[in-house]
Symmetry: C2
Subunit: 371 residues, 2 copies
């Protein structure tokens, strides 16, 4: 793990770059706002830790009322449990005996649940549970329109639920239902339509499972781009937003309405101008290895006339609009990353800042935990 770019008490202007800055006031407001919205809806909040990969942040979410967190990988779950998190849903299929053995062992230390979407996964999970001497909480993932993982709604999902419920090594917990591609559908109306269709599938599938004599008390899913819609539908019992604590440039392009709490940008890449041409460009020290570019360029935060237009491994080129000020050599700027999750994964530390001073240094404890 690399050295942190700051020390506690340091003025933010002295923080080395590139670094991941977290505006603690905005972050805390985001944490509280989501918790309040989910509480008002009478549902449970299980934030997705794939966004932050930080036990420190997960514990703060739990203190604010979350029932636990989600993650995607066994190694992420291991890092979170090692950091004190007691309830982790791996909202994903885990394939491979080595990974399943680690998952089953982890269930001795914390409440761990995971997903299946096909029969061979159920059998492999049973074998791992037997080897570890545990009974594993298992959800069936349903494809609610994202066409990624998940069994089809209806008969396929019901058959898998039956199979899990009948297993002495597993415990059927409910359904995982996440519509990934809906999160970044720009118009609220279109997102609403997608979630309405998903809700119908979920209701019918849950009814089929219950009619089969299997209790099905948990439907969990949703992300920052849709969770108020899942809550309003009444078809979900638990929601899994992740990015809401940070927001990013891509979520900034989504349309939101009054159903969403007013989440704020709290996560920034702090960068230094390392070369410049007056009136034309400023080159900053944060490129592909300091910010994610899969969802577009970062935004230059609150600097009129500066646009991040070109990226290479360790450089970003900012175009200076006619008449705008060219930043000075050595000047530090804030970037709003295009996509928060893969940006966080490039860094080893969150530098928590309040009133211009470094207040917290939190390790990205599951950074690189890709297995």
């Amino acid at each position: 793990m690399r050295e942190p770019p700051a020390t506690i008490g340091m003025p933010v202007v002295d923080v080395d770059t590139p670094a991941l800055l977290l505006d603690l006031d905005a972050f805390e407001r985001n944490v509280a706002r989501a918790a309040e919205a989910v509480r008002r809806a009478g549902a449970r909040l299980r934030p997705h830790a794939k966004s932050h990969k930080s036990a420190d942040i997960a514990l703060r979410q739990v203190m604010a009322g979350a029932v636990g967190v989600c993650c995607q990988k066994v190694s992420e779950a291991e890092a979170l449990v090692a950091g004190g998190v007691r309830d982790v849903l791996i909202s994903n299929e885990i394939v491979g005996a080595g990974k399943l053995d680690r998952l089953a062992r982890l269930a001795h230390e914390a409440r761990i649940s995971t997903c299946v979407d096909a029969l061979p996964q159920v059998e492999a999970l049973e074998q791992a549970a037997t080897r570890a001497g545990v009974r594993l909480d298992t959800l069936v993932e349903v494809n609610v329109g994202g066409n990624r993982c998940g069994a089809e709604p209806g008969a396929a999902t019901q058959a898998l639920a039956r199979r899990v419920a009948d297993s002495p090594q597993l415990r059927f917990v409910g359904l995982q239902a996440y519509h990934g591609s809906a999160q970044h559908t720009r118009a609220v109306a279109e997102r609403r339509e997608k979630i309405a269709r998903a809700a119908e599938w979920i209701r019918a599938t849950r009814a089929g499972i219950v009619a089969d004599g299997i209790p099905c008390d948990l439907v969990t899913g949703a992300g920052t781009g849709t969770f108020p819609l899942e809550l309003a539908s009444g078809a979900w019992d638990e929601v899994q937003p992740g990015s809401y604590i940070f927001m990013d440039a891509d979520y900034g392009r989504d349309e939101f309405d009054d159903h969403w709490p007013p989440f704020e940008h709290s996560l920034f890449v702090w960068t230094t101008v390392m070369s410049r041409v007056e009136g034309a460009r400023a080159v900053v020290d944060a490129g592909l290895k300091a910010s994610a570019f899969d969802s577009g360029m970062p935004l230059v935060w609150q600097q009129h006339g500066l646009e991040y237009v070109n990226v290479s491994d360790e450089h970003g080129v900012l175009r200076v609009a006619p008449g705008a000020r060219t930043p000075a050599l050595g000047e530090k700027l804030l970037l709003v990353p295009g996509h928060c999750d893969p940006t966080v994964n490039l860094h080893d530390w969150f530098v928590g800042v309040r009133h211009g001073v470094v207040e917290a240094l939190w390790p990205v404890s599951a950074r690189g935990a890709i297995r």
Copy 2:
């Protein structure tokens, strides 16, 4: 640093996923072919370590004849020197007193050189050299058409060279001249034109410096996409290709001719099918956090009818063409990453493989070394 996904002697099929696999035979041929091409041209090879971030690989390049390596960040240079590399050029401007102090201290341990493109950088470098009690090898970076960093050719560069040469704390070593955007210009003819123009600027600028009474024995630059052109021009004394050891899907789209050694893909992301729909799609466990997507999707290696069409944080969706085989659940596949450098930076280990068996585990020693 995370646990390695393999042990020495393990069959490759048992290596956990996602993992970064290095085909050692192809890698060694790439290392030897570049070394031979540069030697035949009578020039010096200083491979760019920003591609591999590995002291193990840097030392192999030096054993094959490289004079040392380049990197972009002080923290990369620190990791390389700690791993035994004795000659590192930071082919980049370093801004900020803290970083410059680390750079100057490192010059006590190895031969370190760095670049400037503006007067304030020269002054800051002098101050750091004074504080550390060293004389620092300094190059002036010239903008040869990439419009990123670099002083303009001609008078601006000559004035900076004069200033560096006159400094008691610095030693003027020569010119850094890298045309970044030319590397991924697809047609050889267009790349040749860009490098020909750059060569003219370099010749004129070097002549001006020499006419001013300053020896200028080193022009260094070039990348995998252009270095045979720089060598053929005679205007460069040293070339800095990085990606040639790995190649990637993006370089696979460049046109090459007989001037280039026949470099092979040696770097792969090893991934597991974790969900599937017969005849439609296979979902793999390598997404945005296991491969870089700034230069397009990865290629599925030597699998007919499988196309990586959709990525999310921890998933990749492969479309199965009509009539093609749908890979089995748990099957492992090789991906050729879109862009090698930022892909390597996502991993902690290279898993070196020969004849289907793990032969080497090399840490990505400068992984995350972004400062």
